[in-house]
């Protein structure tokens, strides 16, 4: 069981008496508690420091070293204690885990030493309680980064047998891998700079000429600027196409931010080419030229710091959002107040509340242009309050953003954050698996238990010894409890896979050859009660009285000859064995009944679960309870 609820198991089992009067089926027998030894103190000697605890405390977690029989390897006969040659300080937290059910991570311990101890004692780190888990994960991440920094020097080794595509992609992503890549890197950087400078310069007034008034350079030297623009766009287009070709996942590349920036940078030029003769849309054309400034973002490929700044802003989105929201609130409040304060004064610039917004923003950011100034006393009072509060409101989130930026810049953690998100999911998944292990353990032990009984029935000694049950007493008692619940409600626990199969099969059972499953499901609530058993002496069936339907996926049919006669008896169900090979068919197989279990011993309740037999790996066995067949 996952947590220390071992103390409550007797209580839960006792409370199961509440199900007895409403149970539809008789209850299984309880597992016998053979160990009648009293609860004793165990001495644990860890490198000289002695710890003592009750045996039952350690038994709470049977899948760890101390809870299982693995600790017998460490038993010291002469001193009658268990000796572990490990760190006694860390052992304190491990033993506390058994006592309280919560695993804590002591802050002064080294993370790798702690991990090693946990692995030694068989405890998964995901169980660490929420109080200490953040600290644990942070330390673990730092450790990983340190290891990674050591490894990065080896990363640039060229792998043999890379295709042209892979070589090109590596060249694009890491420019210092080869000379060609470096040349390409600098050439594109140069052209980005040229393009940006061109865009800027073409708006500068170039000086008057005799026949034109003062006009910007772009209109004076149209041809030259056009040629420069064309050259840059050609380079950018070639670069984009090469990247698209080399990308390992083209779809992901096209969705990435950098490629969108590339496209936006070169698109205005092509659109301009197409539309250049149309005078009506020249206004829109002019607007498009604004987008050329996006070329400057292409520099972010060349600058690590720029990328990190962009990433910081993205990760500080919540702080920025808070800043924006609080500013908006303050602006509206102060603008309203200022408007009403200044309403009385004549020739006031505060003509409406939206007009006061401008004053408020300028004041709160301490710009103070001076184009709007309050004249009334109330206005001045509130204006000063406004500027003071502006300083506070803006100053609050800024240190958070700054510290975020410096942290990210220094540790370069973008990939680690992505990995950390995956780790969070795997942590939950692992804990869920460990917890659901108890559910699956019940189902697994059911199969185990059935196999055990089947072997008991068929009486092969060697096979019995193979299935040594190593479930602890606690587990077997828990399974008995779940089994009682099954018997109370006359329904079984199945795992999700089987459940979905059942649902599918119920949907499939619409054609005329109805399998027996449909008929028996309707009457299942009364089918398992022993009092209705009337075994047919003609048919070699014992009180097992169960029907197994095999879904056969191969063309073999393993139909027992005697069961065919039973099929005839059940003619009203309309079940037919479909003899076409290769399809899914249902066949009825009766289990061999041992002569020792006489049919009349209905009173003896062996813990007969519905039997699951695996006859071969080809067949998938579906077990159903049969009732009508034996009422004949």
């Amino acid at each position: 069981m996952a947590t220390g609820t071992a103390a409550w198991l007797p209580f839960a089992r006792a409370a199961a008496i509440g199900w007895m009067p409403v149970a539809s089926c008789p209850m299984p027998l309880a597992p016998r508690d053979n160990s009648k030894k009293k609860d004793e103190l165990i001495m644990l000697n860890v490198s000289g420091r002695r710890f003592q605890t009750w045996r039952t405390t350690l038994d709470r977690y049977p899948d760890t070293l101390l809870g299982s029989s693995e600790k017998d390897f460490f038993y010291n006969e002469e001193a009658k204690e268990y000796f572990f040659d490990r760190d006694p300080d860390v052992f304190r937290s491990i033993l506390n885990f058994y006592r309280t059910g919560k695993l804590h991570y002591p802050r002064q311990e080294c993370i790798s030493a702690y991990d090693e101890e946990l692995t030694f004692f068989g405890i998964i780190p995901e169980i660490i309680g929420d109080c200490c888990y953040e600290e644990y994960k942070d330390r673990k991440r730092e450790n990983l980064e340190r290891l990674q920094d050591d490894q990065e020097d080896n990363k640039d080794m060229k792998l043999p047998n890379m295709t042209i595509r892979e070589t090109m992609w590596r060249a694009f992503e890491n420019p210092h891998t080869s000379t060609m890549a470096l040349v390409f890197y600098y050439v594109t950087g140069f052209f980005i700079a040229i393009s940006v400078i061109t865009n800027v310069v073409e708006t500068v007034p170039c000086g008057a000429t005799p026949h034109h008034k003062n006009m910007p350079c772009g209109e004076r030297y149209t041809v030259a600027f056009f040629c420069m623009d064309t050259a840059c766009v050609m380079i950018f287009t070639v670069e984009y196409l090469l990247r698209l070709f080399a990308a390992p996942s083209r779809y992901r590349f096209m969705r990435s931010v950098m490629s969108i920036i590339d496209v936006v940078a070169i698109l205005p030029y092509y659109i301009g080419l197409v539309m250049s003769n149309n005078e009506d849309v020249s206004g829109a054309f002019v607007t498009l030229r604004v987008f050329r400034v996006f070329r400057i973002f292409k520099f972010s490929r060349h600058s690590q710091g720029l990328r990190i700044l962009g990433y910081t802003l993205k990760s500080c989105a919540s702080e920025l959002g808070f800043l924006l929201f609080s500013l908006t609130m303050a602006i509206i409040i102060f603008a309203t107040v200022m408007f009403y304060a200044e309403k009385g004064s004549s020739s006031s610039k505060f003509t409406s509340i939206p007009a006061s917004f401008w004053y408020t923003i300028v004041t709160m950011t301490t710009l103070g242009y001076g184009d709007m100034v309050p004249k009334t006393i109330a206005g001045k009072i509130f204006g000063s309050i406004c500027s003071l509060s502006g300083v506070l409101v803006i100053a609050l989130p800024v240190p958070v953003i700054v510290s975020n930026f410096s942290r990210i810049y220094h540790q370069n953690q973008r990939a680690d954050k992505r990995r950390a998100q995956k780790v969070q999911k795997t942590r939950q998944a692992r804990i869920r698996i460990a917890k659901s292990g108890s559910a699956n353990a019940f189902l697994a032990s059911k199969h185990h238990g059935l196999l055990n009984e089947l072997l008991e029935l068929t009486g092969t000694e060697e096979d019995e010894q193979k299935l040594i049950r190593n479930t602890s007493l606690l587990e077997s008692q828990h399974h008995h409890l779940l089994h009682c619940l099954e018997k109370t409600t006359a329904h079984e626990f199945v795992d999700e896979h089987m459940f979905e199969q059942n649902c599918l099969e119920e949907a499939l059972q619409s054609y005329p050859s109805r399998s027996p499953s449909v008929s028996s499901q309707g009457s299942c609530t009364i089918c398992c009660c022993g009092s209705r058993r009337h075994p047919d002496p003609r048919v070699p069936r014992g009180p097992l009285q169960e029907l197994s339907a095999l879904h056969i996926q191969s063309s073999q049919l393993a139909v027992h000859p005697s069961s065919r006669s039973n099929l005839n008896l059940r003619a009203e169900d309309g079940s037919r064995v479909n003899c076409k090979g290769g399809q899914v068919t249902t066949a009825i197989i009766s289990l061999p009944s041992p002569p020792s279990l006489a049919p009349h011993r209905e009173g003896r309740h062996h813990p007969h679960h519905p039997t699951t037999t695996t006859i071969s790996n080809v067949f998938r066995v579906k077990v159903q309870l049969l009732e009508k067949m034996l009422l004949k």
């Binding site: 996952a2 509440g18 008789p26 828990h478 999700e496």
Partner: protein, 233 residues
């Protein structure tokens, strides 16, 4: 002239100042800002509910457990609940851990009410151990009494069909979704019908304690299953 200007301006100022103070008071009431240090501490609710059970001898006299058994029980109980009492939420959590596939909270609620004989909303060690004593060491009559008490949700001495339906649904909820055969909507209801057919002798729609005990004593299966858990401790 000046006095008129002062009047209008002054009125405006006063009005605005009143508005500002009102908004500050509103924020203070909403708890967004606080002026004094003590208001924060009101929120720290120190739960000093701690319960110490009666002495070992008294419990030994009242229940059918031996001293050693009481010791083991108390150690386990105190380990799980250091404060000495279990409230309903903790109880539901603990009980839910035994039934990972379904939802045990409704049944745990009924169980809690059955154990909490003094109805004070929390289970102390005495309640726990008294209940266990009946269930594990009591006579069949006492066990059946306890079961009747569990089913009778409003403790009026009669089990109605609605009460039984609630209990039945709670039990079926514990099975969860992935069962074989698939749980249908009317399965609990059918189960209740079967139960009432068996138990309700005079067909008046309710089951009294005498009908219940009579019927159970005549049913072999139920009698036999009452003895399953005798060696739990």
């Amino acid at each position: 002239m000046l006095s008129v200007i002062w009047e209008t301006e002054g009125l405006q100022t006063v009005g605005i100042v009143l508005l500002v103070f009102a908004s500050i008071k509103l924020l203070h009431m909403l708890g967004l800002i606080s002026f004094s240090e003590d208001s924060i501490e009101d929120e720290l609710e120190l739960s000093t509910v701690r319960h110490r059970p009666e002495g070992l001898e008294q419990l030994e006299a009242q229940t059918r457990f031996s001293r050693k058994e009481l010791q083991i029980l108390y150690r386990g109980f105190k380990n799980e609940c250091p404060s000495g009492v279990v409230n309903e939420d903790t109880f539901k959590e603990i009980y839910a851990q035994f039934f990972p596939q379904g939802d045990a909270s409704t049944y745990a609620h009924f169980l809690f009410n059955a154990f909490d004989t003094d109805h004070n909303g929390s289970l102390s060690f005495e309640d726990f151990v008294m209940g266990l004593s009946i269930l594990l060491r009591g006579t069949v009559q006492e066990k059946l009494n306890w079961a009747f008490n569990l089913y009778d949700i409003n403790k009026d001495g009669y089990i109605t069909k609605e009460e039984m339906l609630d209990i039945m649904k709670a039990i079926y909820d514990m099975m969860g979704k992935c069962t074989y055969p698939v749980l249908k909507e009317e399965t609990p209801r059918q189960h209740v019908e079967v139960f009432f057919q068996k138990m309700d002798k005079n067909k008046d729609g309710v089951v009294t304690i005498d009908e219940f005990i009579d019927c159970c004593q005549n049913d072999e299966n139920i009698m036999r299953s009452m003895h399953i858990f005798e060696n739990v401790l």
